[in-house]
Symmetry: C2
Subunit: 163 residues, 2 copies
């Protein structure tokens, strides 16, 4: 039972690592060159501070996720990991929310502020950002599950006595 | 010692409740009517989905915060509160990040996307949003502290044995 749980946690951590890494790479590689009349311009993630923040946050989280994959299961550092998970869950939540808010303006615009949607001009770029946000969303959900599971484990006296 | 801790936690919870309530009210009441040439228009929070989300998230969190103020300290529900704290911390983090991302575009614009800053036209509105985000930020920090404190308490074997 304990073994199955360890494998399950390891799998979740591995998916969390993969999705954060994939999200960082996908966002960093998203760009599209387009021409409006005679004016050629390129849309890329680094034009938008929120997307840059998303790349940095996911890159840091994927390094953290990678390190945890090699942490021995008996290590006392796992006690610290719960607290670090809180911080990283917040970081990822914050980065995906900021990116999502900006992507929404890119998609729908904001008529009152006079911000026009840009997705008609750079459709491929928009779709890639959309895919990236979906992948990033998976990692946020997994970190939330891992956090709730850790809390459940440490709060459950029966499980605690066994360990 | 335990008494001092309880008072301290209660105070933090009270500040968390007050700041979320204040943030929701401040954002919901932010508006400014301005005229550009002969065209009069009004900037208000409900024009921006991210600001609406911020109001709703902070309103829900303030109801949660209020309920917790009346929860007896011996109640078994406090075990559930740690898990709920995770969810509400993520909700608040997400709402403030989205609002911040949009406020940043409002302040600085995004030249590449052709989105012009609007803060020059509606300066009072912008300052109110800025103040609201600062208040919202306090509540996020407090929820993070409460969460880390809960985790520290349940993970610390000495404290756990005493209780």
């Amino acid at each position: 039972m304990a073994e199955a749980k360890r494998i399950c946690t390891f799998l979740l951590r591995f998916i969390a690592f993969s999705t954060t890494l994939a999200a960082a790479i996908m966002m960093a590689s998203s760009h599209e060159r387009t021409a409006v009349l005679t004016l050629s311009f390129e849309a890329k993630y680094s034009d938008t501070p929120a997307f840059k923040y998303f790349v940095i946050a996911n890159a840091i989280a994927s390094i953290y996720g990678l390190l945890l994959l090699f942490l021995p299961s008996k290590s006392l550092l796992w006690q610290l990991v719960v607290a670090l998970d809180v911080v990283f869950t917040m970081l990822l939540t914050s980065s995906i929310s900021a990116a999502l808010a900006i992507a929404y303006v890119g998609k729908k615009g904001n008529p009152k502020a006079g911000w026009l949607p840009i997705c008609d001009q750079v459709n491929k770029y928009c779709n890639q950002v959309k895919g990236t946000l979906a992948v990033g969303f998976i990692s946020v959900i997994i970190y939330m599950l891992l956090l709730l599971y850790s809390i459940h484990t440490v709060l459950n006296p029966l499980l605690l006595e066994k360990s």
